[in-house]
């Protein structure tokens, strides 16, 4: 298997892909499973006017938080941004457009976008701000709102392990949005903790087939962040 999909570092992996005003998808839930090295490379590239589709906006100084600080993002499409104070400030000051999207709707929009489904109906958000301006249709006596599939120019994902064909596996709750985003980027760039030869991952265990992944960067021993380190006392019966 050639190294056709393998890039030496994050900057090389993004070479030729970044243009002002583009749409990016960024995987992760909170700080869990975020493509941090790729995001930092976007920051270094200085690309501006970004529309970023991601469930959250990182925290101040980590993940997408760094792109907010450098004012490279003009629009966020997210379900929850409560952890990021700068986000709230920029939004309330009118410096940042936000499309608040229910987490399930966002998940399905990305899944649909990658799967060639231009629109679908969901009960989520009917009768709320979310459904304003959108088509509402009745099926079997219940109202549903129409939502569009979402795609991105580039999808940045984080995976636990890839083989050189681009087949991906994930680790625990670091999976979250990464599999759907991998399908929905016109180009998908994956930062992976482990890179192996084809055949080393059991085909039954592959979560994202390599067809969806165009570029891979191997980031060994990445720093992982915990937002809320909650524990229980050792003398308590679980």
């Amino acid at each position: 298997m050639s190294d056709r999909k393998i890039y030496a570092d994050a900057t090389a992996a993004l070479d030729g892909l970044l243009t002002d005003g583009m749409t990016l998808m960024s995987g992760g839930f909170g700080l869990c499973g975020i493509p941090e090295t790729l995001i930092d490379a976007v920051k270094d590239a200085g690309t501006t006017g970004l529309t970023v589709i991601s469930n959250n906006a990182g925290v101040d100084g980590i993940g997408l938080g760094v792109l907010l600080e450098s004012k490279q993002i003009s629009t966020m499409v997210s379900s929850y941004v409560g952890e990021n104070k700068l986000f709230a400030e920029q939004y309330l000051a009118g410096d940042l457009d936000v499309v608040f999207t229910p987490q399930g709707t966002l998940s399905e929009q990305i899944r649909a976008g990658g799967a060639g489904i231009p629109a679908f109906y969901t009960k989520t958000g009917v009768g709320t701000l979310v459904s304003e301006g959108k088509e509402v249709k009745n099926f079997d006596g219940e109202d549903y709102v129409m939502e569009r599939g979402l795609t991105a120019d580039v999808a940045l994902v984080h995976a636990y392990m890839a083989d050189k064909e681009g087949n991906l596996v994930f680790r625990k709750t670091a999976r979250n949005f990464n599999p759907m985003m991998a399908t929905a980027g016109r180009i998908t760039v994956a930062e992976v903790e482990h890179l192996v030869e084809p055949g080393e991952i059991d085909p039954d265990h592959i979560v994202v087939p390599g067809i969806f992944v165009q570029r891979i960067v191997h980031v060994r021993n990445p720093v992982k962040h915990i937002e809320q380190r909650t524990t229980r006392p050792r003398n308590q019966v679980a």
Binding site: F29, G30, L31, C32, G33, N55, S78, S79, Y80, V81, G82, E83, A88, Y91, L92, V98, F100, P102, Q103, G104, T105, L106, S107, E108, I110, R111, T122, K123, T124, G125, V126, G127, T128, L129, V130, Y160, F170, R171, K172, T173, A174, R175, N176, F177, N178, P179, M180, V207, K224, H225, I226, E227, Q228, R229, T230, T231, R232, R234, A238
Partner: protein, 213 residues
């Protein structure tokens, strides 16, 4: 004497049934997991892609790849499975989860819920709340009865809604109410916390309700 948070959670735990798949929202609802009756099998679903969620880890065993929807570190159980967010919300939206327990800013007498935004002041986003109330079979709100002296059970919500006509039950620190989602029976008071009087509840509730103690 109003219920404490633990007592509210304990009361909510009485709504659990053996074999239930349950989603617990952040805040007071997470305490419900401390009161699951002995011998009852409950699978907790975390909408960020985990079923069979365990308790917080021991100190030193926290794993950054293992968190709940509130971004807190948790643990696995033998029944645990992991999946993508799309699959997670297939469970939620597709009606596969038996019970959702979450918090509220306001609840209206028809069962409307507002819990995600205060315009101009607090706009954090709705997260998975709108999907949960739209898709889960039974929705219970666990909340303080008043906020800064103001009632939270209102005739209509004046904050942006999370869902219309979505609540089945409210458990506050003062009382328990049921709502009739599919019919026209309206809001009913079915239980008072120990030592709490009907008068106190009526005084602190703006919504109209039938007394069915």
């Amino acid at each position: 004497m109003a219920w404490t948070r633990d007592q509210m959670a304990q009361r909510a735990a009485r709504e659990l049934e053996d074999g239930f798949y349950v989603n617990l929202g952040i805040g007071i609802p997470t305490l419900v997991s401390n009161f699951i009756p002995d011998g009852m099998e409950i699978q907790l679903q975390s909408e960020n892609g985990m079923l069979g969620m365990g308790p917080f880890p021991y100190e030193g065993e926290e794993d950054a790849d293992l968190i709940n929807a509130g971004k807190q570190t948790v643990t696995e159980l033998p029944t645990t499975s992991y999946f993508s967010n799309a699959d997670s919300f297939a469970m939620v939206r597709g009606g596969h989860i038996n019970l959702s327990i979450l918090g509220a800013m306001q609840v209206a007498e028809n069962g409307d819920l507002a819990n995600w935004m205060i315009p101009g002041k607090m706009v954090k986003g709705m997260g998975g709340a709108m999907d949960l109330v739209a898709g889960v079979k039974k929705v219970i709100v666990l909340m303080e009865h008043t906020a800064r002296g103001e009632p939270k059970l209102l005739e209509t919500c004046n904050l942006p809604l999370t869902g219309k006509n979505v609540i089945d039950m409210v458990i506050s620190d003062l009382a328990v109410f049921t709502f009739d989602r599919s019919g026209s029976a309206g809001m009913k008071l079915i239980e008072l916390a120990d030592g709490v009087t009907l008068e106190e509840v009526q005084e602190k509730t703006e919504a109209s309700f039938e007394v069915a103690l």
